[in-house]
Symmetry: C2
Subunit: 227 residues, 2 copies
């Protein structure tokens, strides 16, 4: 996953490591959604000064994982149905575009590699039935590669750096596993085929449906959990 960006680069500095750790903590609910972020406390917890911590917080804000108000501090975002719908509206649009561009810009080798990757995931999926972590990893990897295949750096930046951690947060904290897992593979396969055939419009359509189905799935869980 060699995305060159302030968020995906290998951690060379303290704030890089902090970013990764706090990101994971927020996404997995270790630091609960909606809770206030205390700079002195986090600084003690990770044994660093507040300077790299604030740098990390600035980047967390960029990922939409926290919200800061001047002179009042930062809070972890809260998950909501409205937020989920807004997020997935964007994903449908942007990943649809990514598919169209990928169908133009991915070379044959990249497509073959992606196809092989999917087969590997399918095989390992059959073995590890129900183990949602690997499924999620595989799904994200699939989406990442198509986004990278678009070769549009702004699009890549927005999706991979700024939106996907929030997507993961929704998925992890609302437990995105279950019967949809098996169907997702077929949908992925169909999307790859469209890209391989250089049919950008079809890939676009299929991706929008794929994400839309995923949204409905989470939406259902959220409504059930809320009642």
């Amino acid at each position: 996953m060699a995305i060159q960006s302030p968020i995906w680069r290998s951690p060379v500095t303290s704030s890089d490591r902090l970013l990764l750790e706090i990101q994971r903590a927020i996404v997995e609910g270790d630091i609960p959604a909606g809770s206030k972020i205390s700079e002195p406390e986090l600084a003690r917890r990770f044994s660093v000064s507040r300077a790299p911590l604030r740098e990390a917080l600035a980047r967390l804000e960029r990922c939409h994982l926290i919200e800061r108000t001047p002179n009042a501090g930062a809070r972890v975002v809260t998950l909501s149905l409205a937020g989920l719908l807004s997020l997935y509206q964007l994903r449908e649009e942007l990943e649809g575009l990514a598919c169209r561009l990928a169908a133009e810009n991915m070379d044959d080798a990249e497509i073959a590699e992606l196809s092989a990757l999917l087969e590997a995931h399918l095989a390992s999926q059959r073995v590890r039935e129900g183990e949602s972590y690997y499924q999620e990893e595989g799904d994200l990897d699939f989406h990442y590669r198509i986004i990278l295949g678009s070769k549009n750096s702004y699009l890549i930046n927005i999706l991979c750096d700024e939106l996907y951690f929030l997507v993961r947060m929704y998925r992890v904290q609302l437990g995105m596993n279950g019967p949809r897992v098996s169907r997702a593979f077929d949908e992925h396969k169909a999307i790859i085929n469209a890209i391989a055939n250089r049919d950008g419009e079809l890939a676009d359509l299929l991706m929008r449906r794929h994400i839309g189905a995923s949204r409905k799935n989470i939406e259902l869980k959220l409504l059930n959990a809320g009642s």
Copy 2:
């Protein structure tokens, strides 16, 4: 322009003021594209310490106005045809979506206000023929309001906070005035009408064409300037 975000909020802190000043300087070419950013120099120039300066730089990176590499510093972005195309590809997609959502979510008062605003701009445009600054202000204001009308906070954030300064930079530094100005008003008018008729699909289509035309215009200038 009461967008609540780390970038549009009224400047309450030093780094807020720094952000606005450096943003303006970069967009208008006062700090030339591609040049290296020296933290000590800027800190002296604006009479602040490096702490708020670095905060401002982090947010400038978020606007895609500078690029930072760890332990090596920051550079102002360079303008290129490829960058312009990538940027406008995204704008077409995102502002198209914004139109579709605005047709659903803007209330009648907002639409009436937007329509009145356009008429005012048209009147003042006829008077100040050729004065490109007001035209640009008016155009941006138009786009902003539709984006805000989408009521999708992620979409708003991406377009207004992260992409639009770069758009302005391309326009300012490549001199976006001339014969297209008059036609843009008609296109704006048609888009508003579609939104007022709650015809999201048409508004989407018209906005994509509007931005596409704008892209071709800049593209032309860039090619001529490059040769």
